[in-house]
């Protein structure tokens, strides 16, 4: 079974809010293991691909075809775990464009039935270990490491001391490894969860400070699972789980596209040389280094490995190109095998000799009993066995380091893990990241009383994972190297040494009041508006500092009081996440930058209003018709008395609609005008019918 190919699954998710906003159409169809993609521009051009699994998760669990988290785990996770116990290297990785659902498949969400492959697999792993703990002849240990690859640089996400770039190396005994990457010992699934969580925090801090987006970074979570048979030698199995796949892909070998820039000449020449190499089986060396990710995956495509890949797909027509390229990549992945070719010497001489012997033996057969011809080759002599020399490599520094690591006892490993955990938390605490009651900074928790800031990030995995308390009195925000000590330490280009302060006071009824005061010249936005003077914060307010630090302000006490006052008040229709805050910012700030656009928009709005007024006159008496109208033409200040909920909905829709006008083309504006006309037409028609 050596060199077995990769197991490949594809999975399509439901539309996200952006796709719904753009009224996307679903271009993915699945039937059995086949996935078909429709070209939105040429509807006749369908392309079909066969995979080991095609998961339809576009709808809801009510749909009988719906593939749940558990089903994905049962198909892929369970089999891989089994292989891990058999002694194989196991690798599961997710691939697809940003937002295609990689994190959901791999990590999932905390709620019941929503957990992804990694948590489910870890849980099973420890259950299995505990079940077999009665067997004294076996012992198990589990270690984890967590790293991020960004721009071909490797960062340790677990050890705060490991700053900067780690080197990827190969050792004759240890195989490929990341130099100095910390491996931490774990004894339960909770440990793994905590470590993963703190790793995500480290990633978030780094990404926010450098204003990077996650789309080009890959996180690799390694679980090193060792089984020891006491009477036998050690069996070492490592399991690698990648939570993100290759982002954009190299594109060079895709289709017939031409690369514009001369910097890609090397890739084109490599492709030519490669083409020839394959055809003629001639040896050549192509000095084109693998990317770090490919390099790390390389060992997982060898004979001792079992690899599964989940390609995450967006269902929407607007993502056609990206989705097609993901499908093509997945299709190619099916054919990935180890390409270590055995170059064999031609054995012509051997064949000739053997033919001679065959002839000889045949003669013998025909002339049974004639002389001892067979013995001609054999003469007296002793069969001698020889001993094998043992070769020992000189102990280089690196080898010594590895040996030291190997000699470390389990207890020492656990102690080291604890020490690193403390350091990490001290570091986060220093930056003002809040602690749990037990002192930990990790784990999902939200304080019941203290007002706090929670970070928002484009990547849902990184969102709401850092929490900063606003203590009684003054909480200062600024850079590490400011003149006075800052309570919340941020970095990045647009953060001033002393950026802003929060002052928190408590009223007689225990009602808290938090005031944000920006320092001079420091960019600070509340709900998308630039603030220059002190402002009283309300729970749920969005705060942006500099360009990339996005937070939501929470005051649990205030929120609770509010809920008591208006018990039925529903939360906004839309979640207050990173996208919301950005949209708000763009909406409020974008107007200045796009005065011209705004003007045009105003004209259009006026036009809409006029048409809308005409239309709403027609609609006035017909509730049914009106509802139809709201959906297609969301407008405010309607003369029709709307309920609170309807107004809210309309406001939200209007906000959304306006946002899209900024980012999309004016064609789309006219597109909306068509909808309005359509609505008018419908209403006219309906009226005809009812009257």
């Amino acid at each position: 079974m050596a060199g077995a190919s990769v197991k490949v699954a594809v999975r399509v998710r439901p539309f996200n809010s952006r796709e719904i906003g753009k009224e996307s159409k679903c271009i993915i169809q699945m039937s059995g293991n086949t996935t078909t993609i429709l070209n939105p521009k040429q509807p006749k051009e369908n392309k079909s691909f066969n995979f080991d699994f095609s998961y339809w998760s576009h709808t809801t669990p009510e749909d009988i075809n719906y593939a749940s988290q558990m089903q994905v785990y049962k198909d892929i996770g369970e089999e891989m775990l089994l292989h891990a116990f058999e002694g194989y290297n196991v690798c599961i990785f997710a691939y697809g464009q940003t937002g295609a659902g990689k994190s959901y498949t791999m990590m999932g969400r905390q709620e019941k039935d929503q957990q992804g492959i990694i948590p489910l697999l870890c849980e099973d792993l420890f259950t299995k270990i505990n079940d077999s703990n009665n067997d004294n002849s076996m012992s198990y240990s589990v270690e984890v490491s967590y790293m991020e690859i960004y721009c071909e640089r490797v960062r340790d996400l677990l050890n705060p001391k490991n700053k900067g770039n780690l080197r990827v190396r190969e050792h004759p005994l240890m195989g490929p490894y990341v130099e100095d990457l910390s491996k931490l010992a774990v004894t339960s699934y909770n440990d793994i969860q905590d470590l993963m969580d703190s790793g995500n925090k480290a990633r978030t801090v780094a990404a926010t400070n450098m204003n990077e987006t996650s789309s080009r970074s890959h996180a690799v979570f390694n679980i090193i699972f060792t089984q020891k048979k006491h009477d036998m030698e050690t069996e070492n199995t490592s399991e690698k789980v990648l939570t993100k796949g290759v982002g954009g892909g190299d594109g060079v070998f895709e289709g017939a596209n031409i690369n514009k820039s001369l910097t890609t000449l090397g890739k084109v020449i490599s492709a030519l040389a490669e083409l020839n190499k394959k055809k003629k089986k001639v040896e050549s060396f192509i000095p084109y280094r693998d990317s770090v990710l490919t390099w790390l995956l390389r060992e997982n495509l060898g004979g001792n490995s079992r690899t599964a890949m989940v390609a995450a797909l967006s269902p929407a027509d607007i993502n056609y190109d990206e989705t097609l390229s993901t499908l093509r990549y997945a299709d190619r992945a099916k054919q990935i095998r180890c390409n270590a070719v055995i170059n064999e010497d031609p054995n012509n001489r051997l064949v000739r000799e053997l033919k001679e012997e065959v002839a000889r033996l045949k003669d013998l057969l025909y002339a049974q009993g004639l002389g001892d011809i067979i013995e001609s080759e054999c003469h007296r002599g002793k069969h001698n066995s020889h001993s094998q020399k043992m070769h020992i490599y000189r102990l280089t520094q690196e080898t010594e380091k590895i040996i030291a690591e190997l000699n470390e006892t389990w207890e020492e490993k656990l102690r080291r893990t604890e020490a690193i955990r403390m350091e990490r938390e001290a570091l986060l605490a220093e930056m003002g990241v809040a602690m749990r009651e037990d002192g930990g900074t990790v784990g999902v928790f939200s304080p019941k009383k203290t007002p706090h800031l929670v970070n928002l990030n484009e990547d849902p995995l990184m969102s709401e994972c850092l929490l900063y308390y606003i203590k009684d009195g003054i909480t200062k925000v600024g850079r590490e190297n400011a003149k006075t000590r800052q309570d919340i330490v941020l970095s990045g280009h647009f953060i001033k040494d002393e950026h802003c302060t929060f002052s928190s006071t408590t009223g007689p009824q225990g009602e808290g009041c938090v005031i944000l005061e920006p320092c001079e010249g420091a960019e600070t936005y509340v709900n998308g508006k630039r603030v220059t003077s002190p402002i009283v914060l309300r729970s749920g307010n969005r705060i942006i500092m500099g360009k990339s630090h996005v937070f939501r302000f929470n005051d649990p006490e205030q929120a609770r009081l509010e809920r008591e006052r208006t018990p039925c008040a529903e939360t906004p229709v839309e979640p207050v996440d990173w996208a919301f805050a950005q949209r708000e910012l763009l909406e409020k700030q974008g107007i200045d930058m796009k005065q011209e656009m705004e003007q045009r928009l105003q004209e259009l709005e006026d036009q809409y209003r006029k048409e809308r007024e005409e239309a709403s006159n027609l609609l006035e008496q017909q509730r049914l018709v009106r509802e139809n109208f709201i959906q297609t033409s969301p407008l405010i200040n309607s003369p029709v008395p709307w309920t609170k909920r309807e107004t809210e909905l309309a406001l939200w829709a209007f906000r959304k609609w306006r946002f899209y006008q900024f980012t999309s083309l004016r064609d789309l504006l006219w597109g909306n005008a068509i909808f309005l006309k359509e609505a008018n037409a419908i209403s006219v028609e309906l009226k005809k019918k009812v009257t």
Binding site: G175, I258, E344, H383
Partner: protein, 637 residues
């Protein structure tokens, strides 16, 4: 521009500069959720320029048939490839009408590029075709030739992106011929399109004009290379890559290390095509040009600063990679020569050798020079160093030991260089690949060696370099490499065994071998069998089960290994009949495996035809030999 006031003209120029700046500089800072902000702004400016130019035209009272944007005219698009390369027709390029058309065309061109960049392909195409139309009414001159080339480059990219490679090819090939025609007929430094919208004092120097124009044509070459590659015309694609590299060097538009690595990669293409003269030229140029990247920073300097450390790493790595390309050159040259000279059992065919030597005299060298002139890399200052590096190794097939040895030594020298960077500690796979090449160099050289004792020593060197690695490598992580090593070691031992036997037979007049030779022979024989067996064991599951089905990549090697293990066991020399019996039984067992596997997997039979045929025969015949031995043993008891 008589009727435009200088103020108006200045305003247009400012707008243009602004648009260029937005497109090239500002656009890099556009936010992710509004990625084309600056490009859209640039588009507006370009449209304004277009309107100004048009209104001027109207005020001039000149009727203009085409060129209004937003006026679709799909019916009569000039399609390239139909030779309308614009020489000697329409208004001349430097007439006022021609200049006006060129200016309008340039705006259409920039609008086209802008739309393509913002993913509005069909609008982009329309603008570019408007540009083509405007140019179609002019003849090529130094005022507009640059635009002629640029617009076709863009249309080439556009059509290639739509999988219409032939259409792209048409535009790009026309661009190529326009360039060549212009250089032949005129050749003066042409006006750059940006100069259409520049005030007098900001016009470009001749040098700068040439640079920009030539760069546009370099891009044409590069795009054609890709078009040919996509059309499956590999050879043409390689030629155009070669020209691209050549032009980068001539025009001094390159990064030394990047260029060197590309040239070295191209050498690998030539080598696999058997074009050693071209391969050697690429490699020599690569080595010389990589030298232009400067000295490798010292270890001390690297420890001082991170950037120096990175530079040190980069330079050392890339130079080591170029050395590895050289190794492959030497190796393939030796191996190809060997293929040419060997007889049907892999020995030197002396008749063929004489024949080739006679045929070679002189003429090839002459032919080489003719072919070479078209390919030369280099500028005045690098030309000589490239040529002198080429002289260090020949590009003709070595035909005897002396010639082969010269190639071998060059290769071995590069092995040392490459290993300096790719050390075992840290670069296991790379290091071993280099060792495998070194071993292969020895193997190829051994073919030319007539002295069997020395030939045997060469194989011993191979064993010495590969055996310790094969033993010590982690079996799990380096499974694939170890399999290759096991197979090679098995074959090398077997080769040595044959050599020893031939030598012994030559020396000894009598039929019998002395005990020392027998000991040696048995040692080599069982070592070979051991490595074949190790290879076979590596195919088993972790529990040690023999696979029922062999994967395609290992099918033939696995069956061949079985076949050879069978053969080796029957060759072991022993005086003890019971040992003989054991050996023969193991031999039979392995022959049987080959036969049985091919019975249950008929598709395997074609991959090992000869071996299967012989195995079948042996399965039939060996029991006879075994029975005779048994009978004799019984008789002796």
């Amino acid at each position: 521009m008589a009727s435009l006031s200088s103020d108006e003209w200045r305003a247009i120029c400012d707008k243009f500069t602004n648009a260029q700046n937005l497109t090239e500089v500002e656009s890099r800072n556009d936010p992710e959720n509004d990625p084309f902000r600056s490009k859209y702004k640039a588009r507006e400016l370009l449209r304004e320029i277009y309107c100004s130019l048009k209104s001027f035209e109207v005020s001039e009272g000149e009727e203009d048939g085409g060129g209004e944007s937003g006026d679709p005219r799909p019916s009569e698009q000039p399609v390239d490839g139909q030779r309308e390369d614009g020489f000697g027709q329409g208004f001349s390029g430097d007439s006022p009408a021609g200049l006006r058309a060129a200016k309008l065309g340039a705006v259409e061109y920039y609008l086209g590029v802008n739309h393509v960049d913002t993913e509005e392909l069909s609008a982009g195409q329309e603008h570019l075709m408007n540009c083509m139309k405007l140019l179609g009414r002019c003849s090529v001159s130094s005022e507009n030739v640059s635009l002629f080339i640029h617009v076709r480059n863009q249309l080439g990219i556009l059509w290639a992106g739509r999988d219409e490679t032939e259409t792209a090819q048409g535009f790009l090939e026309t661009a190529e011929s326009i360039y060549q025609h212009y250089m032949k007929e005129d050749g003066s430094p042409p006006t750059d399109m940006t100069e259409y919208f520049t005030t007098e004092e900001k016009l470009l120097t001749h040098q700068e004009r040439t640079k920009r124009f030539e760069l546009a044509y370099t891009h044409t070459m590069y795009y054609l290379a890709q078009v040919y590659k996509n059309l499956g015309q590999t050879e043409r694609a390689a030629t155009y890559c070669h020209s691209t590299l050549q032009r980068q060097l001539q025009l001094n538009q390159f990064n030394p290390m990047e260029w060197a690595l590309n040239a070295a990669t191209l050498s690998q293409y030539y080598i696999t095509k058997g074009r050693y003269m071209e391969g050697r030229h690429c490699l020599s140029a690569a080595t010389v040009i990589s030298g232009l990247a400067g000295e490798v920073p010292s270890e001390a300097a690297a420890q001082e600063s991170e950037t120096e450390n990175e530079r040190r790493e980069q330079l050392r790595q890339k130079r080591a990679e170029i050395a590895r390309c050289w190794i492959k050159y030497c190796l393939n040259l030796l191996q190809d020569a060997k293929k040419l000279l060997e007889d049907n059992i892999g020995e030197l065919d002396t008749d063929r050798q004489d024949e080739l030597k006679r045929a070679r005299r002189g003429e090839e060298e002459e032919e080489e020079k003719g072919r070479k002139s078209a390919l030369l890399f280099g500028s005045e200052d690098t030309f000589d160093s490239i040529a002198s590096l080429e002289e260090k190794v020949r590009c003709l097939f070595p035909l005897d030991f002396t010639e082969a040895r010269a190639v071998f030594l060059v290769g071995q020298n590069y092995v040392t260089q490459a290993k300096e960077y790719f050390q075992m500690d840290g670069y296991v796979t790379d290091h071993i690949e280099i060792l495998q090449d070194h071993s292969a160099l020895f193997r190829a050289l051994a073919f030319f060696e007539e002295d069997l004792e020395r030939r045997c020593k060469m194989h011993k060197r191979r064993v010495d370099m590969l055996e310790p690695i094969c033993t010590d490598l982690n079996a799990q992580y380096y499974l694939m490499i170890r399999r290759q090593l096991m197979f090679e070691l098995a074959e090398t031992y077997s080769e040595m065994m044959d050599l020893k036997l031939t030598l012994a037979n030559r020396q000894a007049d009598t039929q019998s071998l002395d005990s020392h030779t027998i000991k040696k022979f048995n040692h080599l024989c069982s070592a070979s069998a051991k490595y074949f067996q190790m290879f076979l064991d590596s195919l088993c599951s972790p529990e040690g089960k023999v696979p029922e089905h062999l994967e395609e990549e290992v099918l033939r090697p696995a069956l061949v290994a079985r076949f050879r293990v069978a053969r080796l066991h029957s060759r072991l020399i022993s005086s003890s009949p019971s040992v003989q019996l054991d050996n023969l039984n193991r031999s039979l067992e392995n022959y049987k495996y080959v036969v049985q596997y091919c019975e249950t997997h008929p598709e395997a039979a074609t991959t090992v035809e000869t071996e299967l045929e012989l195995s079948k025969e042996m399965v039939g015949l060996l029991p006879l030999k075994i029975n005779r031995l048994k009978a004799r043993m019984a008789a002796n008891n």
